[in-house]
Symmetry: C2
């Protein structure tokens, strides 16, 4: 008898009918002879409703109270799912985060798990019960309710699978798996049967954000075997594990992309050594995420700096830079909007030096200008004009042999 951790997100538990569907799904797994731990999120839009109530009271509610408020969402789901399982004749027990022994650091809104006390869960599993755990939430050593931030329920599921040494952690979603690129935009996109943890980390933005990078990292660290699969269609999903089976010996496994990128350029930095760290520290303090960074030194000894941000952060970024012009010491600011980032991802790249060159060639052949480039061991990203994004994705998807044909 194996042990499977199943995770169902907010969309999968968005109504009473969907919860009954989840219960049926749990029952099937149980009838395959496995013990089951189920992790669930809050029902559909219920988190938004709670956030709405808080915002009506205060534009900046304190984080401890937000955790107190939001953690009720999953608590509603676990009790309803337990009732649904009872209705199907199954013995089940529901646990909040603290009852499940999920201990976190003393931080509100975005706590990391520090310890798992799984005795209570093990006792119930031994008693033959399905254990239902509220995702996204934990408790500090001092008994404070915390939440795990974005991707929290994925993280809860993976952490439980690791602590319980589960055979597998199934992430049920509304897509059927991880694709070579987003199937909503590229018809030729193909579902991958297996990807490695590292590839999944880079591909995390593909397939409608099926899995949070943080959960993938956790799974990688504890070697938890993950599968992303559909809660509606009963078909094989995508397995995420240590070494992905090399399908067709493909070097590139997927093409990721995102739009609404802005490139900010700072010209004539005089004190490039100190001003670089000052700029990015200041931006970080203002919660502005910087992605690609490129620096070049001119002949006169000053430096030029370019970096990419989400377009939403554009106005604030310029404000921050202008307000700190005196400290930073630059000549001119420039920004370009309506850009996009296209990335190719694959573990096989490490031993394949020609991959980046091929990418640039494909883009050049399609008359797509590259504005910025960034590379990691298993990823090459190019910033291009937004209007060229899908053309670039389709061309790369085809050139690296990812399609169905």
């Amino acid at each position: 008898m194996g042990l499977i951790v199943q995770k169902f997100g907010g969309t999968s538990v968005g109504s009473v009918n969907k919860i009954l569907n989840v219960a049926a799904c749990v029952k099937e797994e149980r009838e395959r002879g496995n013990n089951v731990v189920v992790v669930v999120s809050a029902m559909g839009k219920s988190t938004d409703t709670l956030v709405g109530l808080a915002k009506e009271i205060s534009p900046k509610p304190n984080k401890r109270d937000m955790d107190m408020l939001l953690s009720t969402g999953e608590q509603v789901t676990i009790s309803l799912l337990s009732m649904a399982l009872n209705k199907l004749g199954m013995d089940a027990v529901s646990f909040t985060g603290w009852q499940a022994g999920i201990v976190t650091e003393p931080v509100h809104g975005n706590a990391r798990i520090t310890k798992m006390n799984t005795d209570a869960i093990k006792t119930q599993l031994t008693a033959g019960k399905v254990v239902i755990v509220a995702g996204f939430q934990g408790i500090t050593e001092d008994g404070e309710i915390t939440t795990l931030g974005r991707g929290g329920s994925d993280t809860t599921a993976v952490a439980l699978a690791a602590a319980l040494k589960a055979d597998k952690c199934d992430i049920y979603t509304d897509v059927t798996g991880v694709f070579t690129t987003d199937p909503r935009y590229v018809k030729d996109a193909r579902k991958l049967l297996s990807v490695s943890y590292d590839e999944m980390l880079e591909l995390a933005n593909l397939g409608a954000g099926v899995l949070h990078p943080r959960a993938v990292e956790f799974a990688k660290n504890y070697q938890v075997r993950l599968e992303v699969r559909s809660s509606i269609e009963k078909i094989e999903g995508t397995v995420i594990e240590g070494e992905a089976a090399m399908e067709q010996n493909l070097v590139v496994r997927g093409v990721a992309f995102e739009d609404e990128i802005t490139r900010v350029t700072v010209l004539g930095l005089t004190n490039s050594l100190t001003s670089l760290s000052t700029i990015f520290t200041t931006l970080a303090q203002n919660n502005i995420n910087v992605d690609i960074i490129i620096q070049s030194t001119t002949e006169t000894g000053t430096a030029n700096l370019s970096f990419s941000i989400h377009t939403n952060d554009w106005v604030e970024t310029l404000n921050v830079l202008e307000n700190n012009k005196g400290v930073l010491g630059y000549e001119q600011l420039d920004a370009e909007n309506k850009l996009a980032k296209v990335s190719i991802v694959g573990s096989g790249m490490i031993s394949n030096p020609g991959v980046a060159a091929k990418m640039f060639e494909v883009l050049a052949n399609n008359n797509i200008q590259i504005k910025m480039v960034s590379t990691s061991e298993i990823k090459v990203s190019a910033v291009v004009e937004e209007k060229n994004m899908l053309k670039a994705v389709e061309a790369l998807h085809k050139a690296f042999g990812l399609g169905n044909n």
Copy 2:
């Protein structure tokens, strides 16, 4: 510096605006120089919504899951109230039932409090914070979430006031206090400035059920000074304490009444000794509450039995009795609907033997037939026809000098 426990029910926290109003009320108390512990219920109809979800899944959801589900209601309120207090510049901390150290027996749906671990609350009070506690809920020694059943938030408030040795426990409601009779029906009804615990127990049904008898009993046992007062009008309410100040030396303090009473009569009981206990045990097992019971023995040695029930239970009561006819051994069943119960209440009755006689006289003078009578040390109840109920209440209210004139 004193310590005040304030309790606000579901109607008083039914919307964001009402929660802001509660926060203002708490702030006023704090500014009078007192430490404050606030107990709140779930927002307005939110409990009904949760019950609705559960019923959609299962007609008989298990009680552990119902507690898990319903306890989220107060948790939402405490976090929102804490945000509202922050907004007013107050330092506050919200506690669920288990965080507040409210320990109950291991029973779901209707648990009794067994222990109060108030250390966490005391620490926060010492730190100068307003402490907000979720009413209606607790935790077992084994870490199971429980709820306290009807009147649960009142009970939480009183239990906290007792454990913390608070100077007073203020029960805020949508009425201004406890009245001599229900002001919605009797114009002449007058607010009482003070009643004793025992009187309050008997009057509990007056004034739109402002206070649950269970909380009153708790307050009596621990000598907690209670005040029932309005969350909207800033006026004196009704104080409930050991010995009520004898206003105008009144023997009778209030007139309570309820309609939809049915009288069931069982004629010709042969085995009256055993069948009496069998009847009431069987009815209790079917969750039928019996109020007044009258038994008489006939000349032939058989017994006749009459008892009153809520009319809602009428059909089931007859079914139970008919299904058990063989065991019970009676000749005939009879039932009379459209009855009502009118009661006079007052501690002064104990030393005033003529009170019951005066009540019967008043009813007789008004041509109101008495169907059943029951007396306790501080109450006399008469069952009359429903159509005569208000006439009886008004006549008694006047005859015992309870009105404003």
